[in-house]
């Protein structure tokens, strides 16, 4: 499409959403390049949303071969083993996503994302990491932060019927509407490393328990050298023990990390499709906001728990460091 004006095709297709976010946002979306890794149900939802929104390109990274479990909550992949057998998750999703919007270029990048360098990430405006170890997330985040370009970095993970999104927009300038005016604002985001190293006792008392529970799970996988999500009921005692240790080390009352919640997160190995839809939707909205620079993005964690139905934003950052 030409530089300034939307084509007739775009105007017709995007009419209803242009009425929500305006032509300028639509133009910016059409220039944005998105990188996504970890093609499970939630990310599939996000990809659908971002392709429909009309970005310039979407690149998928996931070399894992499709299995019945991996695709159980992924509507992009037909459950026919003859069709999916031998192909990677990224390949299978790519084919379906292309259909949603012929104007978006969807492609697959093979390889282990933790081995990609800063040059690679420099091709993108938005990076979403899912199904990655904490170490990988930190590493990708760091590489993005080292570049002069401001890359928006997100992580997203669901366990049982809970979901978590992390947002790092570094130094982000945006405008928002107040009454009838547009006011210019800015936010400073911590990296994922900085965020999760904020001591637990320094956090406000009412921080959602899900934050801590997710950190316990994350730490367990790190310590045990597990792939993300690779836990089972046999691990429960180990996890509860780790929780005690972490609470002690952080001088945090154990009641902040209920055993029952951890049990749920351990037992729930398959994704819960309604939560995938919700988290994928929220993530989609956030990425669109970041690209457009319009509207206040969430800072810096979002949690959803289907048990209580709340979708909560938590600001996990250290006020002293200015981040």
């Amino acid at each position: 499409m030409d530089g300034e004006v939307l084509t007739e095709q775009e105007t017709a297709l995007y009419d209803r959403q242009i009425r929500v976010w305006g032509v300028d946002t639509q133009r910016r979306l059409s220039k944005a390049h998105i990188l996504v890794c970890g093609m499970k149900g939630t990310v599939a939802e996000f990809c659908k949303n971002i392709v429909l929104a009309g970005v310039s390109s979407l690149t998928l990274v996931d070399d894992r071969v499709a299995t019945e479990e991996a695709i159980s909550a992924n509507f992009l992949i037909p459950p026919d083993e003859n069709a999916y057998g031998g192909k990677t998750l990224a390949e299978l999703c790519c084919d379906s996503l292309k259909d949603f919007n012929p104007m978006v270029r969807v492609s697959v990048e093979k390889g282990d994302i933790s081995s990609f360098g800063g040059d690679f990430f420099d091709n993108y405006d938005v990076v979403v990491a899912s199904c990655c170890s904490l170490a990988t997330k930190k590493s990708i985040n760091e590489k993005c932060r080292k570049l002069s370009k401001h890359i928006a970095f997100y992580t997203v993970d669901c366990r049982d019927s809970c979901g978590e999104i992390f947002v790092d927009l570094q130094h982000h300038r945006y405008s928002k509407k107040k009454l009838d005016e547009n006011i210019k604002c800015q936010l400073q985001y911590p990296s994922i490393e900085e965020a999760i190293s904020v001591p637990w006792r320094a956090l406000p008392r009412k921080v959602t328990k899900l934050y801590f529970a997710m950190r316990v799970m994350e730490r367990f996988e790190e310590v045990e050298g597990r792939n993300p999500g690779d836990v089972s009921s046999a691990d429960l005692p180990g996890i509860l023990k780790l929780k005690k240790e972490l609470c002690e080390a952080n001088s945090l009352n154990e009641s902040h990390v209920p055993d029952k919640l951890l049990e749920r997160l351990v037992m729930g190995t398959r994704e819960f499709p309604p939560v995938c839809a919700i988290i994928g939707g929220i993530l989609g909205q956030e990425v669109i906001k970041a690209i457009s620079g319009k509207g206040e993005p969430l800072k810096n964690f979002f949690f959803f728990d289907a048990m209580d139905g709340k979708g909560i934003i938590e600001d996990i950052s250290n006020p002293e460091s200015g981040s």
Partner: protein
């Protein structure tokens, strides 16, 4: 992940989805992934290009096909062994009766209009099947659960009737752009290209009694052998020039208002510019590709045209209608997807706006207002669909204590973007689910049964196939299999004044109204009253106990709905072509009593919808007063200029 218990409840459930549009596509997908195996889906619409930005089960190649059927095919691709039964039909069809609804464990609505929602609500109550309602607009959405006897029904909280405008505001004293749109669409466009037999308030009444309406009628007729360009300019001058001069002669009107400026084509356009260098006979004679904009080289629908440009579009579009589409005259109604009609209405509205000092709008904006276009994105629909399925699973397990109404907010309240609230108890005064009688104050010596039937039974109670009874006496009914005598009897009754009916209706009488299709019975206690305030109670009736509040901008004897034609008939609830929609209002953490419900005028609930055609989609501002009490305040003004962040 769903527990074993949940999974078996899901597997054995039969679910009805009403609507396969924005919410519907997301919902069907999520239901299928969640393990539902028997899903029925009703949708009367076919697929349009503008759906494709969010109704992701559809492709360009599907345009024109049934949404319900295509949605089913798309989902079977990733869940081939589940049963999906599509109905390309209107949920109001008599086939979808109480017995039909009884076969489902839960009903999930993904509708875009109030009428259909009320209808489904009543059938679910009659069938005693739980209903999960939902709606979205832009970044906002909500999901609510309705279980007979345990929670409010969908109608327990009054939903405002669609926005109406007093006739005189439209014909004489517009102050907002939407007034100009309504004038251009429902008066001018209708007068020129629509049904000539339709009564039309286009002509301004002058104080000069001598100018008869007959004379004014002639002004719109094309004179014998009149050149089309000349005819166009004559109409232009008549409605934008002459009519304004006539209006100005009514001094009273302008005492406290800015006077409009008459506009004449000779002043706005340079002579000779009427002849364009382009060829109006394009490569194709396809009527839908005819466009004044294209012909004049004005490509960008987001541009705000000057008065001169609007005038050129007006005249060009006028000409093109006559040259290319004359055979459609008499039958044409405004269609937002009719490019030429949109251009004409935009131009006409803008010229009028210019006269009255109202800011002009782009074609894009004007089309949205004239077409009541909903603004919608995929993400909100996806979130809402997830929330619907979560509630549906609770319903299947009878997990009543955990039912929630959930609001999806654009800006967080108390850190929450998704806010669950406990449902309210049924409203004891709700005539739909509580069978509490209403009270009607009416002049039983003056009002006829017809007035009662139209203004109360149809317009307020939403019953289209009513039975009206006084005790055991059947005063009126609608039906297919009535014999001639009965039909004649009913027709006669309609014209009788209430106290003169065979079974007289006087003060203290209770009338029973039933709607067989909706299986709804309503008792109305009659109280005679002599006088009614012409301004505040123009219908001469006052219904109380529980009522539909109506948001009329200014009181007047007659009012116009954006889309309806004007006439002397009382304001009726628009039919299917009018998509008006309401989101629930006033959530509060506690189970509130009716007395605590804030004044409807100050708390206009936001309209939500999931696909094309909503109304009243104003800005939403959330005011967090208190820990638990939240109030949704919406500006029903349709000016969309400032909505963007």
């Amino acid at each position: 992940m769903a527990s074993q218990q949940q999974l078996s409840a899901i597997k054995g459930a039969r679910v009805l989805m009403v609507g396969a549009g924005g919410i519907g596509c997301e919902l069907l997908k999520t239901l299928a992934l969640s393990g539902f195996q028997d899903i029925h889906i009703i949708d009367m619409d076919t697929i349009e290009v503008s759906n494709l930005n969010r109704q992701f089960l559809f492709r360009q190649s599907h345009v024109g096909q049934s949404k319900a059927k295509v949605a089913r095919e798309a989902v079977l691709k990733f869940r081939p062994h589940i049963k999906i039964t599509p109905y390309h039909a209107n949920v109001k069809d008599p086939d979808f009766n109480v017995d039909f609804f009884k076969q489902f464990n839960v009903v999930l609505n993904g509708l875009d209009n109030l009428d259909a929602r009320r209808h489904v609500n009543r059938l679910c109550l009659a069938a005693e099947v739980p209903l999960v309602e939902s709606g979205t607009t832009g970044f906002l959405g909500q999901v609510t659960v309705h279980v007979k006897g345990r929670t409010e029904c969908y109608e327990c909280q009054p939903k405002p009737a669609p926005k109406t405008y007093p006739v005189c505001t439209i014909t004489s004293t517009p102050s907002k752009f939407v007034h100009c749109i309504v004038w251009a669409k429902d008066l001018l466009f209708a007068k020129l290209f629509g049904d000539k037999n339709q009564e039309n308030d286009l002509n301004v009444h002058s104080t000069d009694a001598a100018s008869s309406s007959e004379q004014a009628e002639d002004a719109f007729e094309r004179r014998k052998d009149e050149d089309i360009e000349q005819y166009g300019r004559r109409i232009y001058d008549h409605v934008f020039g002459y009519n304004i001069e006539v209006a100005l002669s009514n001094e009273e009107t302008w005492k406290n208002r800015n006077r409009p400026r008459p506009v004449y084509s000779r002043d706005v356009l340079l002579n000779g510019l009427a002849q364009q260098n382009g060829n109006i006979f394009g490569a194709t004679d396809d009527p839908s590709s005819v466009s004044a904009m294209a012909y004049l080289g004005m490509k960008n629908p987001q541009d705000i045209w000057s008065l001169m440009e609007n005038s050129r579009i007006f005249l060009e579009a006028f000409k093109l209608f006559f040259v290319k589409r004359e055979k459609e005259f008499g039958n044409l109604t405004f269609d937002k997807d009719d490019q030429l009609a949109v251009e004409f209405v935009t131009a006409a509205a803008n010229i009028r706006a210019s006269s009255f000092g109202i800011p002009l709008h782009s074609l894009f904006e004007a089309k949205g207002i004239a077409g009541n276009i909903v603004h919608a994105v995929a993400t909100t629909n996806a979130i809402i669909a997830g929330l619907i399925v979560i509630e549906a699973i609770k319903v299947l397990q009878n997990d009543t204590n955990n039912y929630r109404m959930t609001y999806c907010l654009e800006h967080p309240t108390r850190k929450m973007l998704l806010m669950p609230v406990e449902p309210f108890e049924p409203n004891k005064s709700c005539y739909v689910c509580s069978e509490t009688p209403l009270t009607l104050e009416i002049n039983t010596h003056r009002a006829k049964l017809r007035d009662f039937a139209e203004k109360i039974v149809k317009a307020k109670l939403g019953m289209y196939f009513p039975l009206i009874m006084h005790g055991s006496a059947l005063l009126y009914e609608v039906g297919d299999d009535l014999d001639e005598d009965m039909v004649a009897n009913y027709a006669a009754n309609l014209e009788k004044v209430l106290c003169e009916l065979p079974s007289p209706i006087t003060s203290g009488t209770t009338i029973t109204v039933e709607d067989l299709k909706q299986e709804l019975t309503c008792n109305i206690n009659i109280k005679h009253r002599e006088e009614f305030d012409e301004e505040k109670e123009p219908d001469g009736m006052l219904l109380s106990g529980w009522t539909q509040s109506s948001s009329v901008e200014k009181d007047d004897n007659k009012s116009i709905v954006n889309g309806g034609s004007t006439s002397n008939a009382s304001q009726t609830v628009p039919g299917d072509s009018e998509k008006n929609d309401e989101m629930g209002s006033v959530p509060s953490g506690k189970k509130r009593k009716l007395s605590e419900v804030p004044d409807a005028a100050a708390q206009d609930p936001l309209s939500v919808t999931d696909s094309d055609g909503s109304r009243n989609h104003g800005k939403l501002e959330l005011v967090d007063d208190d820990d638990d009490l939240l109030m949704l305040d919406a500006d029903p003004g349709i000016n969309k200029k400032k909505r963007l962040q």
